[in-house]
């Protein structure tokens, strides 16, 4: 979700179709483009492909038809990214995006947080209680991107040793690059974001250790494949290296920056957030377990409740437990209208119940304030009442009450 959102952000204003209109004198196919005789299509066709690609990126980002969308995004994206590489110069930060899209195209990334998962949960509420377990199925794309980044940096380090030897560290190589970068149009990659490079270039005691550290981090990134300690030290090191290059020399590595997301231990981050949320009090959500609409709603909400701040109770089959916890509630009322007992002990029903839990689900935060706009509560209560009135007609059986204690 995050990766494809960032891809969309990066390519949002870029007109990739314009390459279809560039003179052929600049065309010099490289690598796989030359091997497969990939043609540059006319601009209208390129524009159609670029538009389709962006639609597929949106679908991949929200996880709609994820398998198809990620595979399509890879095929079209690989074409659109490959074509410019054959117009004069290869941008070394582009290929990594193609490899990442290839990994997602082969993965089941839509099983987690995606519209597909919500739709599945709504269709089969009984499965929603069992979200996908941790499986190699879901971890290999991350390992694949670790491998890709490790080899890229390793190759860059070996290339430096091969072409300059240790002189890359011990001589003024880095200082010369700093100075050249500050010659504005003298360096075609674009000017650096600061002139600090000129200052560093005058201090061998600073730029030589910087060169040594850069080389060390590049060569040692493969260790991060096997060692957690290396991941904690070397990955931030190469990230700092690329930030430094942007600051002091010009080229930006925004596309690489997307790929650092793969090094973030998301499972641990999620666990920590959930543990932190456990200290917060929870809402209790009471619903009619015999109602199909209610069960679908619960299935979707439970997938969206990332911090597990909502406890769901079936008011039909689990009434004894509910009654023990909240003796003031009536089973008839709870089966008639959805109830939420908020963390502060207030009882909310219908639209107000939804409004109360909207603050507990991050995805609802953007719309939660809108639910307080004058007029919205009135309309919301009416819509809720109408749906509740008609829900039995929509296929929900009339509940048979369990014996209330």
């Amino acid at each position: 979700m995050l990766f494809f959102s960032l891809m969309l952000f990066f390519f949002r204003g870029r007109d990739l179709s314009a390459w279809g209109d560039v003179s052929k004198v600049f065309w010099r196919p490289v690598g796989v483009v030359a091997l497969l005789h990939v043609p540059v299509l006319p601009q209208p066709a390129m524009a159609a492909i670029a538009a389709a690609w962006k639609v597929l990126l949106i679908a991949s980002a929200v996880g709609l038809f994820t398998r198809f969308a990620t595979a399509g995004a890879f095929v079209l994206g690989a074409y659109l990214i490959a074509i410019p590489e054959s117009f004069g110069k290869i941008h070394h930060a582009d290929a990594i995006l193609v490899w990442a899209m290839a990994a997602f195209a082969l993965s089941r990334s839509g099983d987690g947080w995606s519209l597909d998962a919500l739709i599945r949960a709504a269709r089969r509420p009984e499965d929603a209680a069992n979200p996908p377990a941790a499986r190699g199925e879901y971890t290999w794309p991350i390992r694949m991107m670790w491998l890709v980044m490790s080899i890229i940096f390793f190759n860059a380090g070996v290339s430096k040793l091969r072409h300059s030897g240790l002189a890359w560290v011990t001589s003024d190589v880095l200082a010369t690059y700093f100075i050249h970068s500050n010659y504005g149009i003298g360096r075609p990659a674009g000017p650096p974001t600061s002139e600090w490079g000129l200052w560093f270039a005058r201090h061998p005691a600073l730029f030589r250790p910087m060169a040594g550290l850069s080389l060390l981090f590049e060569l040692s990134l493969p260790l991060a494949l096997f060692s957690r300690w290396a991941r904690r030290i070397v990955v931030p090191g190469v990230f700092a290296l690329q930030v430094g290059i942007t600051l002091l020399m010009g080229p930006d590595f925004l596309r690489f920056a997307f790929c650092y997301l793969f090094w973030v231990p998301w499972a641990s981050v999620g666990d920590r957030m959930r543990k932190a949320a456990e200290t917060l009090r929870r809402h209790h959500f009471l619903y009619d377990g015999s109602c199909g609409i209610c069960r679908k709603t619960v299935a979707v909400l439970s997938r969206l409740d990332l911090w597990k701040r909502i406890v769901f109770h079936d008011a039909l089959n689990g009434w004894a437990e509910i009654h023990a916890a909240f003796p003031g509630l009536s089973q008839d009322d709870c089966l008639e209208t959805m109830h939420v007992v908020t963390a502060s002990g207030e009882v909310k029903t219908g639209f107000d119940a939804y409004r109360a839990i909207s603050w507990s689900i991050p995805l609802f935060w953007p719309i939660a304030p809108l639910l307080y706009v004058p007029g919205v509560p009135l309309a919301g209560r009416r819509v809720y009442a109408r749906v509740a009135r008609n829900r039995h007609r929509a296929g929900c059986p009339v509940p048979e009450r369990s014996a209330a204690p």
Partner: protein, 275 residues
């Protein structure tokens, strides 16, 4: 079981064949081609045959092929070692320990077809990248999407700094020269265009290429200007200059390069760009 025993033998045999090919067969073939024996199409691959000896080509071949063969050999030996069950078990245990051992629950692996696809993708990337590293093609001549990532790896000469840059000559009185950067001639950015100029000036038909390239820049500028992409005056000509800077440590000469006109295309007689 027999297949498992056979696999390392086949891999080692493949390595032996590889080295025989690199060290004996290919040099012999190169000498034959240089002497005018063998397929004409392959003889043509030896550019400048009349100027260089056969040993020159053999040396170039060995310089490229030996590192590539070395990388492949290491990979093959690793693969051969991993066909031995005990070695494979040790490797798995080492990886298991390194990745957290029993303290981390090991996830269930994906189904076999996807495992094969994933392994294929990983081997394709790793193999392609390592071969690229071994053969070390010229900078900007890599086999995209593989690369040895050679940027900033060479020892650059501090001064002078030389670059080819296009300038537009405005149709004003008096005319001005403006640098045609990415803002004016998208989708090009400075770096892609600079690489193309560097190539054009080394080609035998450089004049035609430069004229056509500059005409495309002029057309692109006027198209974008007419489309409202930027506000600017019309151009009467586009010029390509070789800019030379005498570099100093404080970059104080950055705005004062020496300029040498390489090519000019006037709007009135610009060649039609080929698309």
């Amino acid at each position: 079981m027999r297949g498992r025993r056979l696999a390392p033998v086949l891999i080692l045999a493949g390595v032996a064949v590889l080295w025989v090919g690199v060290e004996i067969a290919a040099p012999a073939a190169i000498r034959n081609l240089h002497a005018g024996r063998g397929p004409v199409a392959l003889q043509r691959r030896l550019e400048g045959r009349e100027r260089h000896s056969a040993e020159h080509y053999v040396t170039v071949w060995l310089g490229r092929a030996r590192p590539a063969a070395a990388v492949l050999t290491v990979a093959a030996l690793l693969a051969a070692a991993l066909t031995i069950p005990a070695a494979r078990r040790s490797f798995h245990e080492a990886v298991h320990r390194a990745t957290g051992g029993d303290s981390v629950p090991q996830p269930e692996p994906p189904p076999r077809p996807r495992r094969i696809a994933v392994a294929g993708l990983a081997v394709l990337f790793a193999g392609g990248s390592l071969v690229e590293l071994a053969i070390d093609p010229p900078y900007r001549g890599e086999h995209w999407p593989f690369s040895q990532y050679r940027m900033y790896s060479e020892t650059p000469r501090r001064s002078p700094l030389v670059g080819l840059r296009p300038f537009g000559v405005t149709a004003e009185d008096p005319p001005r020269e403006i640098l045609l950067d990415g803002r004016y001639i998208r989708p090009f950015d400075g770096s892609r265009l600079a690489a193309s100029w560097n190539r054009f000036v080394q080609e035998p038909d450089r004049e035609r290429l430069l004229q056509a390239g500059l005409a495309d820049c002029l057309r692109r500028y006027e198209l974008r200007r007419a489309g409202g992409a930027f506000e600017g005056p019309p151009l009467q000509a586009v010029r390509l200059y070789r800019l030379t800077w005498d570099v100093d440590d404080r970059a104080s000469t950055r705005d004062a390069p020496r300029r040498e006109l390489i090519c000019e295309v006037r709007a009135s007689n610009a060649p039609t760009p080929s698309r």
